[in-house]
Symmetry: C2
Subunit: 849 residues, 2 copies
Amino acid sequence: MSPRRVSADPIDRSTFPVDPWRLVESRYNEDNLGATETFFAVGNGYLGMRANPEEGRSAYQHGTFINGFHETWPIRHAEDAFGFAETGQTIVNVPDAKVMKIYVDDEPLLLSIADLEQYERSIDFREGVLRRELIWRTPAGKRVRITSSRMVSFTDRHLALMSLEIEMLEGSAPVVVSSQIINRQDGRDDYHAAKNGSAGSDPEHQPEFDPRKAGKFEGRVLEAQFDWHSTNRMILGYRCTNSGMTLAVGADHSIETENEYTELESTEPDIGKKVYRISAREGSTIRILKAVAYHTSRGIPVRELSDRCRRVLDRVREEGHEIFAERQREWLAEFWTNSDVELDGDPAAQQATRWCIFQLAQCAARADGQGIAAKGVTGDGYEGHYFWDTDIYVVPFLIHTNPKLARNALRFRYNLLPAAQKRARVLTQRGALFPWRTISGEEASAYYAAGTAQYHIDADVAFAFAKYADVTGDTEFMHRNGADVLVETARLWADLGFWRVSGTEQSFHIHGVTGPDEYTAVVNNNLFTNVMARYNLRRASALMLEMKESDPANYARILQDRDLAEDEILEWAACADAMYIPYDENFGIHPQDEHFLEREIWDVANTPPSKRPLLLHYHPLVIYRFQVLKQADIVLALFLQGDQFTPAQKRSDFEYYDPITTGDSTLSAVVQSIVAAEVGYQDLAMTYFMSGLYVDLADLHRNASDGVHIASAGGVWNALVYGFAGMRDHDGKITFDPRLPEEWNGLRFPIRIRDSRIRVHLTAGTIEFTLEEGEPRTVFVRGQEILVDGVVGVPLDGQGPRRSLAAEDASVVGETRADGTLITATVPDVDAPREEAALLGFEHELPAG
Amino acid sequence: MSPRRVSADPIDRSTFPVDPWRLVESRYNEDNLGATETFFAVGNGYLGMRANPEEGRSAYQHGTFINGFHETWPIRHAEDAFGFAETGQTIVNVPDAKVMKIYVDDEPLLLSIADLEQYERSIDFREGVLRRELIWRTPAGKRVRITSSRMVSFTDRHLALMSLEIEMLEGSAPVVVSSQIINRQDGRDDYHAAKNGSAGSDPEHQPEFDPRKAGKFEGRVLEAQFDWHSTNRMILGYRCTNSGMTLAVGADHSIETENEYTELESTEPDIGKKVYRISAREGSTIRILKAVAYHTSRGIPVRELSDRCRRVLDRVREEGHEIFAERQREWLAEFWTNSDVELDGDPAAQQATRWCIFQLAQCAARADGQGIAAKGVTGDGYEGHYFWDTDIYVVPFLIHTNPKLARNALRFRYNLLPAAQKRARVLTQRGALFPWRTISGEEASAYYAAGTAQYHIDADVAFAFAKYADVTGDTEFMHRNGADVLVETARLWADLGFWRVSGTEQSFHIHGVTGPDEYTAVVNNNLFTNVMARYNLRRASALMLEMKESDPANYARILQDRDLAEDEILEWAACADAMYIPYDENFGIHPQDEHFLEREIWDVANTPPSKRPLLLHYHPLVIYRFQVLKQADIVLALFLQGDQFTPAQKRSDFEYYDPITTGDSTLSAVVQSIVAAEVGYQDLAMTYFMSGLYVDLADLHRNASDGVHIASAGGVWNALVYGFAGMRDHDGKITFDPRLPEEWNGLRFPIRIRDSRIRVHLTAGTIEFTLEEGEPRTVFVRGQEILVDGVVGVPLDGQGPRRSLAAEDASVVGETRADGTLITATVPDVDAPREEAALLGFEHELPAG
């Protein structure tokens, strides 16, 4: 089935009621177990726990993940070639410490069959704690209230806290709680059961393979190395068979009850148990607390890691659980002060927006030296790999709200630089080539056409560094780390491209690369790549020339460390200035690559939903032959390098590409929303925003079960701030040209400029800036310079152009979900460009079904 | 190390003396064990045995192969995508029945350390028997003459015969002969030992991986199903674990000796033994005969196959070995009458030529319903797969010499048609798409860019059918089988391509394909593909329109079976007539593909030999960015579709592409030779001919150990007949425009036209035709029509133009082989086109080492 587009709230509100600060599931449902495990996952960027019920069942995938903790495996190419990626890297589903099984009268609680009088599961984004409360009428007719909580600490990276409260409302009964740490060897059984249709995201529509999923292991991944327990504590230790990474996990338990109870402890290599057997009397309450600590490393002995776990657990024992919950609230209060986006007039979208932003906290808060994976720590989709998603979709959010976290994400890239230099050598290039997907720094993309060939990642990384420095003013970091990255990436571009002379004109060309759009591969002069490479070259050259004056010590260091001469620095500027930018006079648009317009146009409108996303139904060779986009490519360039295009160009390009963009990638909608808003297609901007906003919560791509789409979540913030609020920050200059949707009364959010925090409040008639912290700063509203000191309002004459051509042309179809709700989806209409194309001589064919 | 080019005899004649009818190894040498196992391999197109010594050691790879007998394995793509090949197919190294171990005084004969007074190994191409004769001075000082022979029968497909004669020249001794059938489980140990450098083709220069090799098995391949023996007979049966293919192998033994002896027999699942213990007296002779039968099937029970083996062995027991040796000589006499090419004045080249033609007999004679694999049955290189090599390099030879074998090869393609139709569906196309590489008919190419994307295979198959019908006049086969293939391939082209209108002109374009040159992949309008597809479309259309008149029954059958309407037939002609043929006015050449000339030019001259072949030292992305060819592409089109190009175009194209063709593929040199001869570069034609002629015998590509390069061997015949003798057979019209090299006095060979055999004798001043069999036929010599009835001579005014530009420009370098002989190699000079290119604005960069 095709990824769905929505233009209004698509959520089943009978199950998930609107609440501006919480996500709530008000009745137990197994409709889409994999997706809800993702929705309610808790994590801190280091440690993540999927929302499996305490008692373990039912589950789509039991999941506990630690950022960067991975196993390696040799990539066996069916046909190998020089330079193909050799080492697969897959995030490991680590031993599960979430389990607290509950038995009343020896009957296990099993939600799928339990008689539940009451049920609610919720997460409050200000609290950061997953809570569940239910009343169970047991088979013996007794009534029990069970309340549980789970949090992963933002302040204590290695810590998770859980609680379980059992209250006998009617009847007395023997109650058993078996709290466990269990090493399921990566949940293969569940995963495979799910693939065979027993549960999961729309399993009957899943084709046999899905290249976006993980699951490459054959043998045992975690070797048990250590297990130990005392009365209240257990610790287990493991080592990854191939990667040699080590892990220890410990748990402390305590119980509060007036009932009599006995307790039992045991640990074995793959399981640790703490069992409470309680004679529970009617009216009594049992409260069990569980503190869990995880420590991991590249290879430190497990015993050392277990000592580290002990120290974390000791601290909890000394200070008590509640203080950590309080710190969690404090941390989140600070986070929301810096990051909240308020939507006036749309509480449903408000809720989803905050859920997305909360996911950004959960993936980035304590990533520390690690990258931010495509799924954060909420699932093993894409094998836990880091992509360009972070640099382009998440880092800008962090720069404007939590610059320290942005710096961490960039430090991670800096630390990969030696590996990237090595990879460039394999590709016969100078400089550095960042891996398309990786955990360890080694290229793990085994399909180079849509992987290694995406050289643009180099410019994306450089772009993120430059934006960070521009907005935060952190030149020290730029000179000490960023410059090295800019130099080595610029070097790659200068070496990769080549000069071509035509008459008196020289131009610089880049051949054989793939742009962000993966439905076209290995092309010449991809526009996105060329404009981003141009920026990379320009910034590197300018930075070095500037450092020569302002920071001669670091300048000299780089010249020496990187064997760099000033000639080369000047050459970068020359390459940038001569960069070839494909433009087609006939169409008045930029071709996505030099020969893009020579292709046939894919008839998106007549491609049945059963054949989408295209990548799961057509051989790459077929897709590559056509003008059809998986995701925004030029449109993304129009946003990121917006100061390099005229408004007329943006409009023409958007109008050409939008109808042939399938949006099969979740990276697409949010970018299409931003540019649609800029060029005036407000309805389309809202549809794309909604389609990005609900990617996960409405499971629009039918793979929310694999984990949160972090880039899309970051894109939601981008769509609000850059799209509807019309902010731009080219070269650190903060400008606004707002596009407030008619549906909303206002939009309110903070941004950071250097050390200052300014809250922006956009309404239909005014944009108001409030300096909340730091020095006064200057911003620009539609060309007008505004000094923000205290509160300053700028009246607005409308919200930009309002066009409706594309929106009117788009055909709207209704799709009915499994639960009976009607989804309104918009299918892009490809007739417009097809007619134009026909004039230039294309005939159109639909690949046969 | 780069593939070498030679312009003179490169063989070490102290080891391999010149002999026009035999290949002889006159002293034992382990220099290149893998290669000599290939040189002296015996086979009949069904069964092949590498030239491992009877006693088993030393070996690079013990090898016995049966055409099409393969194991399957799931292709695990590191990153999968829709339509990627799923089932790996690898030829199985079957149980080895060659082994006859010899012990004298309990000492085993081991050639590598034995004191050999005399040694000769030879194969006579008129006899088809591998013979070895040696005198061994044993450690105890005794002298023993050991003579052995081995043949695989051309007349009895399943039969191999061996003999061993031991003569005690000085001293008496206990002699033990242990004759075996041993299932080595596919020789993995040997193979891996070889890869680690203990033996093989220049192992120290082998990179860690070589995508051209086989070796994908992990578990046990052959499951033992059956073993049985009587006094003189043993039979073993096996089943492939995954593919389910079954095999039985049996052996009969007999002994002739006046000495006393005892005998022992045993069989176990993986080994059968017949042991003779002989009290050998000085002056006495022991003669042991071994008859071996192999039967295989897709899944017939092993017991049934063992009965079939019995029947073969019974026949040998009844008729005796000698009668089969005689039939072998008769078969070969007939073969040489139809196939020999005599080179007057170059006995060394004569020997190598006959070796190559003998290999064509060995790969094709009894392929029967199977295809002809890239290595025939002489090795497991390329996993025993069938490629387009057969259709383009081997079938033309068979058509002109042994049309029945050509028909078999084409029948094999016809039988693959349903699988090819299925594959087209997966690629979203109508018609049929033949698999790029396969055994079973399923696509096994796991790297689509240089595999599945080579759609040209469809036209190559159609081309072979058309040539067969044109030359043989076998219209019945064409109407009954060929038409189906032409229809379904034409259908694919019509569906794959698309129409483009420019002003009043319509043209038909084919995008996203790879031509024969694998150093450029997935391009638009590859010239080779377009001209071959045009031919395919034209022939299919013409054939159907002709059949409508001449064979309405078959016409109607095809219309019904293939759901075909006359509109579609007419559409093919329209597609063909409008086929876009890229041509560049500036360069005055055909670009290899529409955008080929926009690429940078690879500096072949400055690429160090240590970096060649390029495919083992550069990532495909790097290679694809440049103008550099692995193998003839346009130049092949100039040959196959020679009537579609003017002489001036051929010369310009050849001059442009020749210097940027690395010849990293062995498919290249022979084609370059043909076109070099035609356009007048006679020296270059000879260099390329020699480089093709000695591909294996001088191990020019350093992988002769993997088996015979069958396509190159076929190409040698092509280079002689089409190249130097200047024959063409476009549309069945046989024409000659000879190019006899100055080095040679004459060239003499037979060709078949319909049922007639005509012997052609070319000398410097005359071309003479002799009708040896059948009706008189018409040929053309430089435009002049000649009726060949009896003997007719046509005087020649020279041998075409003689140019030397490219030959003079080519720099000649000397390379010294491991054995100390000097090899003269010619490196193509890329300066000429580079200068031209520079005028049009290219700058050149050498990828960094």
